[in-house]
Subunit: 338 residues, 2 copies
C-alpha cells in the first residue's frame, strides 16, 4: 500500500508506528537517500577529512507561502544552511533535517517540497544523514516548518570574522539585493500585486570558495533576515568601525525597486537567500570582483562601500550627495521570509 | 532595557533586528553560554578528538504540556538528543538548537524552559554551539517547538546495531517503562486524573557508557515514541528474528499500571525518555544487569526476554502461560509526548 492512498497527513503519521515508517520511507528516504542515510537507526556515523576545522550551523524555516517564484521551503532549507557554512569559509558536507508537519497537510505537496530539498542538497554536494518528523495537530502549525543543521569543514588557519575587519576595507556584494523578500511578498495572496521577481534562493558556495585563497579576505556573511542593512549594522557593532555605502553602487533590480516604492519598503532591509557580502583589503577588492563576475551567481557583483573609522554607524551616501543612517531594524515590515 | 519589560513574544522578536538580538542575548545566550557559543556568527568551529567515529542525530520536540512532572520541553530536548547518541555507543559533545516560538508566548516561561535546557546540557556534558530562533504568528504554533542536532564521538571498531543481534541473545531494560507517557498524560488538563507519576526524562549516557566495554553487547535503543513494543518490532524486522518477552519480568510502576487499566492503554507502547533497551549475548547479560543496578538510573533494570528464531514477531508471554503478539503500532493513543 502506498502512503499516497491517503491524501493528507494525519496524527498517526507522527506516532512512531507503521504510518510514520511509511511517511519516512516513501517521502523522506526516497528523495534524500544516500550511502550515509540509514532510516533504521537514530544516529549516523559521518566521515570528516582529517586536519580540517569542523564547522556547524543550524537554521529554522517558516517561510510563507511554502512555494514561491524561484524556490520553496525545501530548497531554501538547504541553501540557508549551506550558506551559513559557506560564508564561514567552510565546505558543507552533511545536513540533518527536522520536519514539523501540520495535521491535514497535503501529502503530495510534502512530497514535492522534500523532492526539491533533495535536489538542492545533491546540487550543493551535501548529504542528509539524519532526520526526524513530528506531526502537530491542525491549527498548531503553518503546514510545514523545517530545521536543518549543517556540518562542514574548512582549512585550519583560515582567519575570517569581525575581528579581522580593518579601516579602509572594501565592501562587496555578489548580486542584486532584495529579490527573495519581494518574490515571497508577491507570492502572498494578501498582496494583490503581480511582478516578475524570482527569489535569489541559491547556494553561495561557489562564490565563497572562489575568494578563500585571496589574501586580504576578512569577512563574509549572507544578508538574510534584515538584509544588507542588518549585516552592516552587525559589522559596525562588532568591528567598532563605521561603514559608508554608496547607494548608486548597490545593485537593486528594477522590479524590486518599483515594488519597494509602491509599498514603502526599503530594499536595504530585504532578505536575500543567495547573496554574499564580503569585506576585504581594498587592494584585493578588484580581483575579487572580477572572480565573482565570472561566476554564474556573481554577474552583477559590485563594490558598494568601505569601512572607515568613526562612530559605529551604517551611512548611506545618496546619489545627490546626501547621507542617511541605516539604523538597526526594529519593526519588521515583512515577516516569515525564511 | 530588559527584554522582560515586554511580557510576551512578538513577531518583532523574530525579524533579525534589535528585538531578536535581545531575545537571543537575554534568554538563549544567558542560559546556554559556553566557550564555543558565539552569537555573533552563523557557524561555529567545534573540536573533535582524533581517531574517533563522529556520530550525529537530530530530534524534534512538540510535547504538550510544555512542563510536566519530572521535566519540560527544554530538558527533554537535551535528553532526547543525547540519548540517541548514547545508545549508538557515542559520547555526545555538542548540540545545536532550533526554537520555533509562537507569537504571544510568555517570555518568562520561555526563560524557564531555556534555563532548564541549559542545566540539562551542562549535566549531560554537552555544549550548545549554534542556534536559531523563529517566531511564528499566533495560531501557527503550539507555544514552543524545539529541534536539536547532536554531535558526538564513539570508539572506532565498535559494532552495535541490528545486524549484530543473534538468536539466543538476552533483552534487558534499564528501568520501569511508561513513566514518561503517563506523566505527560496526567499533566494534560483534558484528563481529569491525578497521580504521582514523574517522567523518567533523563540522560542515559551513564547507562550506555557502562556497557560499552562488555564483550557481547550487540544493540542498544531508547524506547521513546511507540515504547518497548515498537523497539522490539524494529528489532524483529531488522534482525529477521523473533522476540519473546516475559510480561512479569518487565518493570512497570504501580501507578502507571493503574492509569493504563483505567484508560485502556497498553504500557508496552508508552514512551520512555530515560530508559535503554539492550540486546546482548546471554552469558554477558547478568554482568550487564549488575552494572546497571549499581547505577542511579538503573536500580530497577531487568532481563525481560530473549531473541529466538522464528517468524519476525514480538511475543509477550503472560504470567498465566498465555501469549499475545505486540503488533506494530498503527493508531497512536497518546500523541505529542515528545
Amino acid at each position: 500500500m502506498s502512503i499516497f492512498e491517503d491524501r493528507f497527513v494525519t496524527l498517526a503519521h507522527g506516532n512512531g508506528g507503521r504510518y510514520m515508517r511509511e511517511l519516512i520511507t516513501e517521502i523522506f528516504a526516497r528523495h534524500l537517500h544516500n550511502p550515509e542515510l540509514d532510516i533504521g537507526t537514530d544516529a549516523a556515523a559521518i566521515t570528516l577529512p582529517e586536519g580540517m576545522v569542523v564547522m556547524t550551523t543550524t537554521d529554522g524555516f517558516i517561510v510563507q507561502p511554502l512555494e514561491f517564484p524561484g524556490g520553496d521551503i525545501g530548497s531554501l532549507c538547504v541553501h540557508g544552511t549551506v550558506n551559513d557554512l559557506a560564508v564561514s569559509g567552510a565546505k558543507p558536507l552533511y545536513l540533518t533535517l527536522n520536519a514539523f508537519i501540520e495535521e491535514g497537510f497535503d501529502l503530495r505537496t510534502l512530497d514535492r517540497l522534500i523532492q526539491s530539498l533533495g535536489k538542492a542538497a545533491r546540487e550543493a554536494g551535501v548529504r542528509v544523514v539524519a532526520g526526524d518528523t513530528k506531526v502537530v495537530p491542525r491549527g498548531h502549525g503553518g503546514g510545514l516548518y523545517l530545521a536543518s543543521t549543517g556540518i562542514g569543514v574548512r582549512k585550519a588557519g583560515l582567519k575570517l570574522g569581525l575581528p579581522q575587519i580593518q579601516t579602509g576595507d572594501a565592501i562587496l556584494v555578489s548580486g542584486p539585493i532584495g529579490d527573495h523578500g519581494i518574490a515571497v511578498l508577491l507570492a502572498r495572496e494578501d498582496f494583490d500585486l503581480k511582478g516578475d521577481v524570482h527569489s535569489d534562493n541559491a547556494s553561495v558556495l561557489p562564490l565563497t570558495q572562489a575568494l578563500l585563497d585571496l589574501p586580504g579576505l576578512h569577512f563574509m556573511r549572507d544578508p538574510t533576515r534584515g538584509g544588507l542593512a542588518m549585516v552592516c549594522n552587525e559589522i559596525v557593532q562588532g568591528a567598532k568601525a563605521q561603514i559608508r555605502l554608496r547607494e548608486e553602487a548597490i545593485p537593486v533590480r528594477g522590479p524590486v525597486r518599483s515594488v519597494c516604492e509602491i509599498l514603502g519598503y526599503d530594499p536595504f532591509y530585504l532578505a536575500c537567500e543567495g547573496r554574499v557580502v564580503a569585506i576585504m583589503k581594498a587592494n584585493a577588492a578588484k580581483e575579487a570582483l572580477a572572480i565573482w563576475k565570472a561566476l554564474p551567481g556573481g554577474k552583477n557583483a559590485a563594490i558598494i562601500g568601505e569601512v572607515v573609522s568613526g562612530r559605529p554607524r551604517v551611512i548611506l551616501q545618496t546619489p545627490i550627495g546626501g547621507e542617511r543612517t541605516l539604523e538597526e531594524l526594529e519593526d519588521d515590515p515583512l515577516p516569515r521570509i525564511c
